[in-house]
Amino acid sequence: MDFRFDIIMEYAPYLLKGTLITIGLSLAGIVIGTILGLFIGLGKMMRNKYLAFPFTVYITVFRGTPLLVQVLLIHFGVVPFFIGETHAVAATIIALSLNAAAYIAEIFRAGIASIDRGQMEGARSLGLSHVQSMRHIILPQAFKRMIPPLGNEFIVLIKDSSLASVIAAPELMYWGRAMSSQYFRTWEPYLTAAVIYLILTLLLSILLHSLERRLATE
């Protein structure tokens, strides 16, 4: 079997551009998803069951349906409904953010719930308000415990951004598929894409590991 490096070289500029867009989509998904996820997680933890209910529904729906279905609905339904035309990049960012937010909300909730009740009592007994206690005592500790599951979620998000290729957002996988259909080749485009995804997720893991080590006490 011959392996045609020449077509990889030919596609290199597109693959590079696609990689940058993949990084952009993933970063947007991570940032927006994390912010949304925090609010949804806190929403689900509200004592008032009626107020918490919509957040529970949100998490159930977005975790319980395939991301591909969400991407298609948002791309061909939601985005055109609001702006009158399709926009693949916007649709991808919205779908990734909304989907990740549901998972991240659960990570936040679990992280906060894992902090010993005594921590809140200790803080409140000193006169700190509920909000102050959350901000200075509970959330910093919960955040540390959330890093590993958040890292997992971010890695999943990078990989899932490849689904955007079906709505022709010009990210890495889109160019991989373009290359495959132009030359009727399988190994070169998809192996190249796989290696690039692997590098991205490895870099992210290394970053998160060093963050984890930096936050270690003792």
Binding site: Q119, S125, L126, G127, L128, T217, E218
Partner: protein, 240 residues
């Protein structure tokens, strides 16, 4: 200083405190003893509203803390609490643990808070531990830091919820020593404990609780040597 009137507390259908009435005078050291499940910890936790009160009133310096108008954070800032499991903040150094509340609640100046914290650490014999994290301390050291942390708010009253129950036996002494010193300095204290020696030596008054009631109260000498109630006698015969 503290006046507890007809205090009741239920957890669901389970009534843990049934009609508690006590008055605690300034500078008094009141020790609460009793079997587990007698409601003594719940009673203590009601004094700074870590438990919501089902019925009755608690007045601290004349202010009814059960009144909805009362700012509970202000009350708690004046009532120090020491827990069985220390409840130190593991992500903050010993010094940060102590200065947090003065900085955030009392808005004390940074240098002043630091100086105060260091002098408190010296008082509990741990000034060299200022910059380590709580995880590297022994249980006794943790509890002494927790006492310093509570004292940093300059409370008028200190509540101790079984402060030595989670400690290895050889570390109980160092914590009791700090508490004795506090008592000598005139701190008003309510101490829930199983340390009968401490109750006898330091307590001005001992309350014996059982089944959600204060069964008997007296000065330590009388309560320990000539208890009047059968339940007190039965309890003391088991622990002394």
């Amino acid at each position: 200083m503290i006046k507890v009137q007809a205090l009741r507390k239920s957890f669901g259908a389970n009534e843990v405190l049934k009609d508690i009435n006590v008055t605690i005078k300034p500078q008094e050291v009141v020790v609460v003893i009793g079997p587990s499940g007698s409601g003594k910890s719940t009673f203590l936790r009601c004094i700074n509203l870590l438990e919501t009160i089902t019925a009755g009133h608690i007045l601290i310096e004349g202010k009814d803390i059960t009144d909805k108008q009362t700012d509970i954070n202000k009350i708690r800032a004046e009532v120090g609490m020491v827990f069985q499991h220390f409840n130190l903040f593991p992500h903050k150094t010993v010094l940060e643990n102590i200065v947090l509340a003065p900085l955030k609640v009392k808005k004390v100046d940074k240098d002043q808070a630091r100086e105060k914290a260091l002098s408190l650490l010296k008082k509990v014999g741990l000034e060299e531990k200022a910059n380590v994290y709580p995880d590297s301390l022994s249980g006794g050291q943790k509890q002494r830091v927790a006492i310093a942390r509570a004292l940093a708010m300059e409370p008028k009253i200190m509540l101790f919820d079984e402060p030595t129950s989670a400690l290895d036996p050889e570390m109980v002494g160092e914590v009791l020593e700090v508490m004795k010193q506090l008592a000598r300095e005139g701190m008003t204290m309510v101490v829930v404990t199983h340390e009968m020696g401490f109750a006898r030596e330091v307590g001005d008054r001992v309350l014996f609780m059982d089944g959600g009631y204060i069964v008997e109260e007296n000065i330590p000498k009388h309560l320990f040597e000539s208890p009047q109630q059968e339940r007190t006698k039965a309890f003391l015969s088991k622990v002394l």
